[in-house]
Amino acid sequence: MVELKQTSPCAGLLPVTLGDVTMSELTPGQMTCLTAFGDPADLSAALERAHGMALPGPNRSSGKQGARCIWFGRGDVLLIGPAPDAALGAHAAVVDLSDAWATVSLKGAGAVDVLARLVPLDLREGHFKRGHTARSQVMHMQASVTRLASDEFMIMVFRSMAGTLVHDMKQAMAAVASRR
């Protein structure tokens, strides 16, 4: 018998605070990619029954902290938090991605300015509101960006790129901090 210890994607790299912005690792629990087969309304209903949230439309999220569902690209959503109910499998491909992504929070008044250095998205508050999400890029990395609050974002990149994420973010954070 073996005993295997867990290591988080950003272990030893976070948290980091520069200026008024803090980047810290999130451990949101299980992450499951759901891709609807047939009518997405059926998946939405199953999701509602099992986890109390509807299937989010493109660029939107549903649920709340602890049990959230974010749109994750064409045809895909990511259920974050609970273990997926077995009933979902009848309406969707269910793929465990709990370990595939490094997930961080970027929080602080300057967070939006930090992201403006790395993400080619229009993040103005009137355009990218709380609960909005996007698949985009952080510097050269494919990413998922979700606004958790006016001054907080959830950023996800591939797990193997956690080191580069922290490197690129720190550089942008330092530049923003130097302007304040």
Binding site: L4, T7, P9, L18, F37, V95, R117, M161, A174
Partner: protein, 979 residues
């Protein structure tokens, strides 16, 4: 010389800086140019070609002469315009293109040789002997000519790039830009106002006229204060909009810390912005043009508007005895402002006999021209020509004005051509040149202050209409100067000698005429023949005058002559700014496996495989070469058990009712027949019949597969699958999800592989329950994993996958057990040896040209179904028996050397390109066989096993006789993997 009571500089803050080793003092708000002029320094540079002494011509970013180097050491910055660089405490600057000193420059001898160095000089002179160009001429010319130099060291400065979004981008914060921004902001639009100056206001800071009941500068500051208090406005000063691009994108360069001494700690020197705007207003103003006359380039001769700027904005009189020379009414203001400030105005010379000049308190010459200047390194006198002859005047500064050119540059960035306006003798933007851009103010040929204010409001109304917003009902306009702008053209004063047009490139009127005489009469040819309009100022000061002279010399009108093409960037942009962040660790994402830390700790050199980092080998004490480590690691796998991280291989989870159909379509062979719990090797083709990738796919359930791809092709294969699912068969119910990062996967290979695993798995396995090519779920200490019995080494082997959070621990555990069993970790070198010995291919073989036929897998293209690439793979040329096909290669002499990339020839054929019958794709030293072996492609190779051919590597000078053999060198029946 400072003038009391003038300027918007902060006289309470003295700032000291140095120029060519001497310390000078200026005030906060000064540029290097204004501070040097205030200190009586007028010589600031040497010209590019003739090394003529030069001073400032302008007061802005169009400056052609006063180029300096700032900073010292690695971070020194060449070709900085003294008219743009603000001074800060401790700023170090120096002149360029002069040796041994600016004051005494030996290369000024070029100026004496000028009769021989005119337009086309290089083209005519350095024709022969041909080989002299690279060896002699070019190095000498490069040394003698040129601007400033880089340090030659790595740039230590930090740069930044960033994105911004707005409804309206207003470019230029002069009267038109300020009113446009204010109007749009009041209507609630998100506005970015960008201006290249440190102080917003444009010409309002440089003129003495009032706006409302205030000075122009104070009024501008008031508007800026209003704008900065609004949440929907972003003010970007020191920001030059450098380019207009498709879809409302603009490039802009912000000088973040060029005006401070702050360096390091992540503080950027400059930022390159990509601004996405739904609409834009170009209010970039206008640039004053000089007049060409003999020796019009002496330090002390500058544009009339620049003289007013130095006086009104910086409180500096650029001379004690100043003359003004112009062809328009605007120039008169310079004389009036100087006189009012108590500066001695020696003369106002207006080329128009009918000029109306009111209230002059200085001598006025109408219908006169300046035809020469005197002095050595500074202006001492000018010669004026009137109806009654020539006359010398003692002056130390001449302000000249040939009229104003609207700054049309940005409107030309998307192929637009400006239109000629006869009344102002200048080009203006052609409407619609840039989609969703409105042009306003002087940039649009509107020159009075009042008209600019009003044009700004109008442009904002247009923009708001386009944005679907309501414009404010009324925008109160302050009273301001509203005089008409009148001029009659004067491009060059007739006479002998060199009259300069392009100061930066030392192009004179004569050069343009010579180009025309030699039939370089198209404006684009003239530009390249004379170099007019090149280098950092891109002809901002000289283009229109050069055109006018070319038009005259070729007997055409100016509009018929046309313009050269203005391209981005408007002003120089450091490459470092555009590529900010993408250097060092930021160059590309570095993908680390979960075993990365442990591998590095074991001393493994990491090699890049795509974006991944993989261990090359794991050195042990006593080993002096990589080969020793590699041989040992190969031995682990052949004799005991080896562990290798294979997480970098692409893993794609494929689910859905049509999953098997998708696999049948993208792979050449059948997957719909694969039983659950089994793995199959597959080859996929591109539609043209060439091999795209290979790998194994496991069936985990009736409608659930996991495909593996090679590390290098993972992204391409994913994109290919998405293409098939979306663009070819959207009716299929199938989903593809990358799970590469979800699973940490390790090869456990060697005769003791099962024994090792059985010490770790919660439930042991045997050959019955887990035969070759079986797969399924397993548990390791309660952790759910997956086990695949596949082999890339030919040995009894498995790949075990665990969720990545357990990857580091699993690697440690596997390694610990392997070492106890006489095995250990193996890296890429050993992996390569193991697969070559077995004839397994990688992208060294399937390199984008090889077909399934070439690699001996033609039979894998199922006859029972269609698949991508099937039709085209059957083309006769792709299944020709004479095509080079996969073979094994071994040296005839056991010590013979094989090299990858070498060509293969028949034994007797000369080793020339025409005779090449194939090449070597992979080689290694096989410890098992005790010799080098290789894989390669040879014409009709499979039919020629046991024949001897010749390997020739011209590059490495290797020639070896090799025997063609079957590509599987070891265990051809595959008994070891099945055992």
């Amino acid at each position: 010389m400072r003038v009391a009571g003038k300027g918007v500089i902060d006289r309470s803050k003295a700032v000291s800086f140095s120029f060519d080793g001497r310390r000078y003092s200026g005030f906060a708000g000064d540029t290097v140019a204004s501070a040097l002029l205030a200190n009586g320094v007028s010589l600031m540079g040497r010209s590019f070609k003739y090394h003529r002494p030069r001073g400032v011509l302008s007061a802005g970013s169009e400056e052609p002469n006063a180029l300096i180097t700032t900073g010292t050491g690695a971070g020194q910055e060449p070709n900085v315009r003294a008219t743009v660089q603000e001074i800060y405490e401790g700023l170090v600057t120096r002149s360029q293109n002069a040796w041994p000193s600016l004051d005494f420059d030996v290369m000024a001898v070029n100026d004496l040789a000028a009769p021989f160095l005119g337009a086309g000089f290089y083209y005519k002179t350095f024709m022969w002997p041909k080989r002299f160009w690279e060896a002699v001429y070019e190095p000498v010319i490069r040394k003698a000519a040129g601007l400033g130099a880089l340090s030659g060291q790595n740039n230590p400065d930090t740069y930044e790039r960033a994105y911004a979004f707005c409804d309206l981008l207003v470019i230029g914060a002069g009267p038109a830009g300020l009113m446009a921004a204010l109007t749009a902001a009041r209507a609630g639009a998100d506005v970015i106002l960008a201006d290249e100056d440190s102080l917003m206001g444009g010409r309002l800071n440089a003129e003495s006229g009032a706006v409302g009941h205030q000075s122009g500068a104070v009024w501008a500051a008031g508007i800026v204060a209003q704008l900065s208090a609004m949440d929907n406005v972003r003010l970007m000063s020191r920001t030059t909009v450098t380019g207009a691009y498709d879809g409302g994108m603009y490039g802009a360069l912000e000088r973040v810390n060029q005006h401070t001494g702050i360096r390091g700690a992540g503080a950027p020197l400059e930022a390159f912005w990509r601004i996405s705007a739904r609409h834009s207003i170009l209010a970039a103003g206008a640039l004053e043009r000089p007049i060409a006359f003999r020796n019009n380039d002496r330090p002390g001769i500058m544009t009339a508007g620049a003289v007013r700027a130095y006086l009104n904005r910086w409180g500096v009189a650029p001379g004690k005895r100043v003359a003004v020379f112009g062809n328009n009414d605007d120039a008169h203001r310079t004389a009036r402002d100087l006189a009012a400030a108590g500066v001695h105005v020696v003369a106002l010379i207006d080329s128009r006999p009918d000029a109306v000049i009111e209230g002059a308190t200085f001598p006025v010459f109408k219908g006169a021209q300046v035809c020469n200047s005197g002095g050595r390194k500074a202006l001492e006198s000018i010669t004026i020509r009137t109806d009654s002859g020539e006359e010398a005047l003692q002056v130390d500064c001449l302000a000249m004005s040939g009229g104003w050119n609207p700054t049309v540059h940005l409107t030309c960035h998307m192929n637009g051509r400006p239109s000629w306006r006869e009344d102002i003798q200048a080009f203006v933007p052609t409407p619609g040149s840039i989609p969703d851009m409105t042009v306003a103010g002087a940039c649009n040929g509107v020159f009075s202050t009042r008209a600019c204010l009003s044009d700004g409001v109008e442009a904002a109304r247009t923009a708001l209409g386009a944005l679907g917003r309501k414009a404010p009902a009324e925008m109160a306009l302050p009273e301001a100067e509203d005089t008409p702008y009148a001029l009659s053209p004067l491009w060059a004063v007739a006479g002998a000698g060199r009259a300069w047009l392009d100061f930066q490139n030392d192009v004179s009127v004569k050069d343009i005429k010579q180009a025309a005489a030699e039939n370089f009469s198209s404006v684009e040819h003239m530009k390249r023949y004379t170099t007019q309009g090149m280098a950092t100022d891109q002809g901002k000061n000289s283009n229109v005058a050069a055109l006018a002279i070319l038009a005259d010399a070729t007997g055409r009108g100016i509009p018929q002559t046309g313009t050269t093409t203005f391209r981005p960037p408007y002003a120089p942009v450091a490459i470092a700014a555009m590529g900010a962040g993408a250097q060092g660790h930021g160059f590309a994402p570095e993908r680390h496996t979960t075993s990365h830390k442990r591998s590095v700790a074991m001393g493994a050199p990491m090699i890049e495989a795509g974006l991944w980092y993989r261990p090359s080998y794991f050195p042990k004490a006593g080993e002096t070469t990589w080969q020793q480590s590699c041989d040992r690691e190969v031995g682990y796998v052949r004799k005991a058990v080896g562990i290798c991280d294979v997480s970098t291989l692409g893993k794609i989870d494929i689910q859905g009712p049509d999953a098997a159909r998708l696999l049948d379509f993208v792979y050449t062979n059948m997957f719909s027949t694969l039983p659950v719990g089994r793995v199959r090797y597959g080859v996929m083709l591109r539609e043209d019949g060439t091999v795209m990738d290979d790998g194994t796919t496991a069936r985990l359930g009736a409608e659930h597969f996991v495909m593996t791809t090679t590390t290098a092709a993972a992204g391409n294969v994913m994109r290919h699958l998405e293409f098939v699912c979306q663009a070819l068969h959207p009716e299929w119910e199938v989903s593809c999800t990358s799970v590469t990062e979800q699973w940490a996967q390790f090869a456990v290979a060697g005769p003791m592989a099962r024994a090792l695993l059985n010490g770790m798995l919660d439930k042991p396995i045997d050959n019955e329950s887990w035969p070759f090519m079986a797969c399924g779920d397993v548990q390791l200490g309660g952790v759910a994993g997956r086990l695949f019995r596949i082999s890339f080494s030919g040995e009894h082997a498995y790949e075990i996958a665990v969720p990545s959070r357990y990857g580091a621990a699993a690697f440690d555990a596997l390694l610990g057990r392997a070492e106890q069993m006489g095995g250990g970790a193996y890296g890429m070198e050993a992996l390569n040896v193991l697969r070559i010995e077995k004839g397994f291919i990688t992208h060294a073989e399937i390199e984008g040209r090889a077909t399934a036929f070439d690699i001996g897998m033609a039979r894998m293209i199922s006859a029972k179904k269609d698949c991508i690439g099937k039709t085209m793979a059957a083309r006769p040329g792709l299944v020709d028996a004479l095509r080079p096909q996969l073979v094994g290669l071994k040296p005839v002499e056991p010590g013979g050397r094989l090299t990858a990339g070498a060509h293969l020839f028949e034994r007797e054929a000369p080793a020339i390109r025409e005779n090449s019958k194939g090449h070597v794709s992979s080689v290694c030293y096989s410890p098992e066989l005790g010799m080098m072996i290789g894989l390669g492609f040879f014409a009709a190779g499979p039919a020629r096993h046991a024949e001897v051919i010749r390997l020739v590597d011209h590059l490495r000078k290797v020639e070896t006789e090799v025997e063609i053999c079957h590509p599987v060198f070891l265990d051809p029946q595959g008994e070891r993997a099945r055992g």
